[in-house]
């Protein structure tokens, strides 16, 4: 909370509600109600409220190459999903927000909030999340290889571990199951995440692996229908 800045715009937030219908593997259906506090990023002014907004994602070609290698070398391919990734990033720019309706401070109703962490809708949210993940992976010894900024590689005791960064659900590839569990634990310690097990979907396309045959099929049948 801070005093209202004299020459700066103070932006608002709004709640965005969503009903999510999940179909589980066993055929059960559940309905989840999601409420997200969204920042009205459309009112942000470049140079004042934000500067850098770029957040790279992994190339399709890179993914296909890694899939080819995964199959050829019999590696493991898993998937996870970081919870509320866009709330994690730190904000360096000065961005001000009005107090939320219904949550106005009793003593200081005229003060405004200065954002220290990202919010959904904030222009720099993807960028700050990417920076956070990049820092973390590098601190764990991963190398960011030159041909694709989103391919992180770690050689650990003869094991190869690859993290492909695609916003908040990075596919993980490793030369053994043990290595997969190890990297999952490492990431889990730092970020809250869902373990999705063996990858079934990677950035849209469905993945079906037939380990006995040594084949993997990447298709978009559901999307095409």
């Amino acid at each position: 909370m801070t005093d209202r800045p004299a020459s700066r715009r103070v932006l608002k937030v709004k709640w965005v509600y969503k009903v999510k219908n999940d179909v589980h593997e066993n055929g059960n259906r559940t309905t989840r109600h999601e409420a997200r506090l969204c920042f009205l990023g459309n009112r942000q002014i470049k140079g004042l409220d934000f500067n850098e907004t770029v957040a790279p994602v992994v190339k399709f070609t890179t993914i296909r190459c890694i899939l080819a290698m995964t199959v050829a070398n019999g590696w493991e391919l898993h998937q996870m999903d970081v919870k509320t990734a866009f709330l994690i990033g730190d904000i360096d720019d000065e961005v001000f927000m009005e107090q939320r309706d219904g949550h106005v401070h009793a003593t200081y109703p005229d003060k405004v909030c200065r954002l220290l962490q990202a919010l959904y809708g904030l222009k720099q949210a993807p960028n700050t999340w990417y920076a956070k993940l990049d820092d973390f992976l590098k601190s764990q010894g991963f190398d960011n290889i030159d041909p694709d900024a989103c391919l992180y590689l770690l050689m650990d005791d003869g094991e190869i571990i690859i993290v492909l960064v695609y916003v908040d659900d990075p596919p993980l590839v490793a030369s053994s199951l043990a290595a997969i569990y190890k990297i999952k634990d490492t990431i889990h310690e730092r970020f809250e995440m869902n373990d999705l097990g063996e990858a079934k979907v990677i950035l849209g396309p469905e993945i079906r692996r037939y380990k006995a045959l040594g084949t993997l099929k990447m298709s978009q049948g559901k999307y095409a229908a």
């Binding site: 399709f60 070609t61 890179t62 296909r64 190459c65 890694i66 899939l67 080819a68 290698m69 995964t70 199959v71 050829a72 070398n73 019999g74 290889i145 030159d146 041909p147 694709d148 391919l151 590689l153 050689m155 190869i160 690859i162 950035l203 849209g204 396309p205 469905e206 045959l213 040594g214 084949t215 993997l216 099929k217 990447m218 298709s219 978009q220 049948g221 999307y223 095409a224 229908a225």
Partner: protein, 257 residues
């Protein structure tokens, strides 16, 4: 996607485009089908897992600001083709070759409006295509050699990048480890191969722009190596022109679909 465009119950068809199809800019817009949305949706499919659609989408996406009845009919045909090939996808196979194999091809003056040619290339790795492209060339090619040479330039650029990517992950003892040698690219035009290797300037080639000589440099620095293949075995053929069903299916299968 098909449902979205009201094509869920359409009759499937064997190839994405009719052989010899010429589409031109239309004066009257036909809004029977949301053309742009259809191009966009198909493009996502093509970029993800469907190299067989790349020529069709490349061609039809040139008309997003001037589409008419013919263009809509063409895009409908692509949707009908998708209907008949929904379960298609890239199949990577452990038992396939783990060496990157490139194919580079070009048609000649295929675009009747500008008489420019089309570049097509694809790279096969581990049994399926990992990279592909189909693009109208930036300038007019005066001969097939020239068109193929320009296509080869793009293919070489991609080869250099792919090689770097694969090398950076491959360590010793892996099946996918490459000796660091050049990437093999197959070309079906022997004149083009000769011209790439032998820097002789003559009447028909002296005007070719410097940027395309990237190919020569890539060869002399051992980044790519060219090999001739028969037109019938040119996997990148469907990226440069409309083919009949037999040929189309054959090449598409070679791409691991």
């Amino acid at each position: 996607m098909l449902e979205k465009f009201g094509m869920a119950e359409c009759n499937p068809i064997g190839t994405p485009l009719e052989v010899g199809l010429q589409v031109v800019k239309a004066d009257d817009r036909d809004d029977a089908l949301p053309y742009r949305e259809a191009v966009r949706s198909l493009m996502y499919l093509m970029v993800g897992t469907r190299p067989d659609l790349s020529f069709a989408i490349g061609k039809l996406s040139r008309f997003v600001s001037c589409y008419g009845r013919e263009n809509c009919a063409a895009i409908k045909r692509v949707l009908r083709h998708v209907k008949g090939s929904m379960d298609k996808g890239l199949v990577f196979d452990k038992n396939s070759s783990c060496v990157l194999q490139g194919f580079s091809d070009a048609d000649w003056a295929g675009d009747h409006e500008t008489r420019r040619s089309t570049t097509g290339f694809t790279f096969i790795f581990g049994g399926a295509a990992v990279s592909w492209g189909s693009e109208l060339q930036k300038t007019v090619a005066l001969s097939t050699i020239e068109a193929e040479y320009m296509a080869l330039c793009e293919a070489s650029e991609e080869a250099v990048w792919l090689n770097k990517l694969v090398q950076s992950v491959a360590t010793q003892g892996l099946r996918t480890a490459i000796s660091g040698g050049p990437i093999n690219i197959k070309v079906d035009n022997s004149g083009c191969i000769a011209f790439s290797k032998n820097p002789v300037e003559h009447k028909r080639t002296k005007h070719i722009d410097i940027c395309y000589h990237f190919v020569r440099e890539a060869i002399t620095t051992d980044k790519v190596i060219l090999e001739h293949c028969a037109t019938d075995d040119m996997v990148a053929d469907p990226m440069t022109k409309e083919l009949g069903k037999t040929k189309h299916d054959k090449h598409v299968e070679a791409m691991g679909l």
